[in-house]
């Protein structure tokens, strides 16, 4: 297993290099200009000067090489420094001080290191998208299992219907709808809870009431996101459970006199989870990718929102870095999904 993992990890390096190169070239080809948001009142010569200061005019390969060095060599140094200096995890280690002030990947919009902003955004994204994912899993799995157990029952039919609806309505519809209901209409009613429509990213959880507020402001975006994820996951869980319910070992388990609860929840679910867990793992990169539309609707300034603003501002270093991180996560979670498969299913042995 270890050898399998390391092998895959090492093999993923050229893959990622290739992916990063393709993305870089794609972004180079894409039309757009970091100066697009500078008002029209600023004359062309000035814009040209500003572009030069950002290094836009250099040949693409040079730019790519610079980015690569910064991303693969300098940023890790900064990260290690940060780990050993400020983090609670490894802060007790002596400060490594590897970073000597070399040029880092600098965003064109903010003129600050891209990674700093990314790190700043991760908590919001994890809170909202991550919680939505967890909520969705917690809802989807029981629904999937129960629909499969009672196949073609009313519950199953209704579940199919609702999940399909959940899948087919886009978040730019559900989002504003929920805002209208819970933030606008709710103000004039006594029976609807009033919920914030704008996510406060500076909010800090320090006590019970601030925690409550945090929950309140998360409810709407989490609902919108969870609806979509639940829809897909419960379908997978249902299919997988159906497959396993007909297996011989289920009959064996019943023949032993085990109760239905144990038969289903322990024997069947444990097996049905194998493909579903990998589906879940493969979906995790999308958490980090954020949910562009939902984040936008609720002003959750997470990674997705960062990416979309960077795209519109043609902030290539930012876009490039975010997409690359995303690619890394995809490749990584592919690997993790494979490993999980091996862990969950004792029949599978890598090597």
């Amino acid at each position: 297993m270890l050898s399998f993992a390391t092998r895959r990890l090492v093999l993923s390096v050229p893959t990622l290099l290739f992916i990063s190169f393709v993305i870089f070239m794609l972004l180079q080809l894409a039309p757009g200009d970091p100066m697009a948001q500078v008002p029209l009142t600023v004359p062309a010569e000035v814009k040209q000067k500003m572009r030069e200061a950002l290094g836009v005019g250099e040949p693409a390969l040079v730019q790519y090489w610079k980015w690569l060095v910064q991303m693969a060599w300098i940023e890790p140094k900064v990260f290690i420094d940060w780990l050993t200096r400020d983090s609670w995890l490894l802060g007790w280690l002596p400060d490594t001080a590897l970073y000597q002030g070399e040029l880092r990947v600098i965003s064109w919009q903010t003129r600050s290191p891209v990674m700093d902003i990314v790190i700043q955004r991760i908590p919001q994204t994890l809170w909202v998208v991550g919680v939505a994912y967890v909520v969705a899993i917690l809802i989807a799995l029981p629904i999937g299992i129960y629909s499969a157990y009672k196949q073609y029952s009313v519950f199953d039919q209704a579940g199919t219907f609702v999940t399909m609806i959940g899948f087919s309505v886009p978040p730019f519809f559900t989002g504003p709808l929920l805002i209208v209901i819970f933030a606008v209409i709710a103000q004039d009613t006594w029976w609807l809870p009033v919920l914030p429509s704008i996510y406060d990213t500076t909010h800090e959880v320090t006590n019970w009431s601030s925690f409550k507020y945090q929950l309140q402001q998360m409810v709407l975006p989490v609902m919108v996101l969870a609806l979509q994820i639940t829809a897909q996951l419960s379908r997978y869980m249902r299919a997988s459970t159906l497959d396993n319910l007909n297996q011989d070992y289920v009959r064996t388990a019943r023949a032993k006199g085990l109760s239905e609860k144990i038969v289903v929840l322990s024997h069947v679910v444990r097996n049905s989870m194998i493909p579903v867990v990998t589906v879940i793992a493969l979906g995790i990169p999308s958490i980090f990718g954020g949910a562009i539309i939902t984040e936008n609707v609720f002003k959750v300034n997470g990674i997705g929102q960062l990416l979309i603003t960077a795209l519109f501002a043609n902030d290539l270093p930012m876009v490039m870095t975010l997409t690359f991180i995303f690619a890394v996560l995809i490749v990584l979670f592919n690997l993790i999904a494979d490993i999980l498969y091996g862990v969950l299913d004792p029949r599978i042995r890598y090597d």
């Binding site: 039309p31 757009g32 200009d33 970091p34 100066m35 697009a36 948001q37 500078v38 008002p39 029209l40 009142t41 600023v42 004359p43 062309a44 010569e45 000035v46 814009k47 040209q48 000067k49 500003m50 572009r51 030069e52 200061a53 950002l54 040029l103 600098i106 965003s107 919009q109 903010t110 003129r111 600050s112 290191p113 700093d116 902003i117 700043q120 955004r121 805002i179 933030a183 606008v184 103000q187 914030p196 429509s197 704008i198 406060d200 990213t201 500076t202 936008n296 609707v297 002003k299 300034n301 929102q305 960062l306 603003t309 795209l311 519109f312 501002a313 043609n314």
Partner: protein, 545 residues
């Protein structure tokens, strides 16, 4: 009393990405920074200059501006302190000049310092700006939100190429303004608190500011007027019926102000035919087959029902306009009028010019070329509604229109490789809005000069988007640059304006104002379109609403 009114929450649907306006130039960045760093003088809501960090605005009359119009001397008020407690001196002002004009700095506000020869500091409170030649409008440098003063001590190491390594400075500039940055989360939120060293001990009334960025205009309008989560929302570019609906929420009020912003249709004077070889398309080499024909562009203009456009698209934030320069009042020409639609008149005019539908397909031809127009603009709900309406009207007078909308970052981006930028203008007509800063339109009027046309050898850069070219216009503009007398300048300006519009450089549509909304409980808001909207944030306070 300072800090007595608690917290104020401001929402901009575009999020500030940096608090140093010299490195960005984006309105969101300039305005958010204006709460922290300030210029020597700024414009008020009427477009008049008011002293800010100085005692009075230098003029020729009070001797602050030399008679030959080559120097201007600013006297800094005494007792002004930076938020860190140190004194604000003329050295900081000079530093700001050095900072922006450094050749490798990529300063966005370089035009402010155009023509400046030197900035001298005879003493700690005096700043002397010398221009290379007579400058009738010497209020470029250090005036207005785009040109605030940076603290020399803080930015000393950030000159030139080092500018982008100064993240800490760019995110937390030390200023003289009413607030200081507590935390800046780029593209997200800024938290600020009252500046303890602010010059007026009674201000600002708010102890804290939360400046949220991002989302959409609709959502920020809702947040102020319907849910009351925020106190101030900037630039609500929404259809009037939507605004009206939000206003029913009863939590806030929209306010509008008018600057020189005009929504217009630019008419391509050159031929954008895709069959022309690359490099000749949309250049002066090939004149447009019919758009230079007066009957055509006049008819196109007559067919438009401008009051309806205002009603549909801008409501109280729009006025019918036939002018390129609708403000300030002195420069606004009154010669042209266009507030009634005249479809029949337009048809008659085309018929009279012999531009008729000869093959019966409903589209008129001019010299055998059908009047088929590709009409592009940036993606934006109101603009798309305008496109639909105008297409409809034009079709009524026998002009066929194909609509195209382009993502704003591409459309307004200057990527020479993209065929979709507004400068390349690979279309017959395009719609967008433009304006100028301050109150003097000289540079703006220069956008009609022949040699400002974008073309391959300028990398498609240039402000003369419609490739308008008239020797008379160029000559008249040259005269403007030499004239100092205000009344005379205004007359020339109006004439240039009329020349452009009458000769088919553009079809002005709507004089757009800016519409922002504030909570009913927020007092002291004075909408200013000539400077940062947040120019008087020090005066904002809480009222019972």
């Amino acid at each position: 009393e300072r800090g007595s009114d608690g917290e104020v929450k401001i929402i901009y649907w575009q999020a500030p990405s940096i608090l140093n306006p010299f490195l960005s130039g984006g309105t969101k960045d300039v305005e958010s920074a204006s709460m922290i760093i300030e210029p020597l003088a700024r414009y008020n809501e009427k477009g008049e200059l008011v002293p800010w960090l100085v005692d009075e605005v230098p003029t020729v009359g009070n001797g602050g501006v030399s008679a030959d119009l080559t120097t201007i001397t600013w006297k800094i008020s005494s007792g002004i302190k930076w938020s860190d407690g140190s004194d604000f001196t003329s050295a900081d002002v000079k530093f700001t000049y050095d900072y922006c004009t450094h050749p490798e700095g990529g300063c966005a506000q370089l035009t402010k310092f155009e023509n400046v020869e030197s900035v001298d500091t005879p003493d700690a409170n005096t700043v002397v700006v010398k221009f290379a030649g007579p400058t009738p409008n010497p209020y470029g440098p250090f005036v207005g939100g785009e040109s605030p003063i940076l603290q020399a001590a803080q930015f000393a190491n950030c000159l030139g190429a080092a500018a982008s390594t100064c993240t800490e400075q760019n995110f937390n500039p030390i200023g003289t303004g009413p607030f200081v940055v507590d935390e800046f989360k780029p593209n997200d939120v800024i938290t600020m608190s009252a500046n303890p060293n602010y010059r007026d001990p009674a201000k600002p009334a708010f102890a804290k500011v939360t400046f949220k960025g991002g989302g959409s205009a609709a959502a920020s309008g809702t947040a102020v007027m319907e849910t009351g989560e925020f106190d101030y929302a900037w630039n609500l570019q929404l259809a009037p019926d939507v605004i009206a609906k939000m206003q029913e929420g009863g939590k806030g009020t929209p306010v509008a102000g008018f600057g020189p912003l005009v929504e217009r249709i630019m008419l391509n004077q050159t031929n954008p035919d895709p069959n022309l070889p690359e490099g000749e398309r949309s250049t002066a080499m090939h004149p447009h087959p019919f758009l230079q024909e007066p009957a055509v562009y006049k008819a196109m203009s007559m067919a438009i029902d401008r009051p309806l456009l205002v009603e549909i698209g801008y409501g109280q934030a729009g006025k019918v306009s036939c002018n390129w320069v609708p403000a300030p009042a002195a420069f606004a020409s009154e010669k042209l009028s266009c507030d009634t639609q005249d479809i029949e008149g337009a048809k008659a005019m085309l018929d009279a010019a012999g531009i008729v539908d000869s093959d019966g397909d409903g589209v008129r031809e001019h010299n055998g070329v059908p009047l088929s127009i590709l009409y592009q603009t940036s993606t934006n709900a109101v603009r798309q509604d305008f496109q639909a309406l105008i297409k409809d009207w034009w079709s009524q007078i026998g002009i066929e229109t194909e609509l195209r909308n382009i993502e704003a970052s591409v459309f307004f981006g200057g990527d020479a490789g993209s065929p979709d930028t507004f400068q390349k203008f690979y279309a017959d007509v395009e719609m967008y809005a433009n304006t100028f800063n301050g109150t003097d339109p000289q540079a703006y009027l220069g956008n009609g000069l022949c040699d400002k046309a974008p073309r391959p050898d300028t990398q498609w850069q240039g402000e003369n988007i419609s490739r308008f070219c008239m020797p008379e216009f160029d000559a008249l503009h040259a005269e403007l640059t030499k004239t100092a007398d205000m009344a005379e300048r205004a007359r020339i300006g109006r004439e240039l304006n009329d020349m452009m519009v009458e000769n088919g450089g553009m079809i002005p549509l709507v004089h757009r104002g800016r519409l922002s909304a504030h909570a009913n409980s927020l007092g002291g808001v004075v909408l200013n379109v000539w400077d940062s909207e947040l120019w008087n944030v020090a005066d904002w306070h809480r009222i019972d609403g």
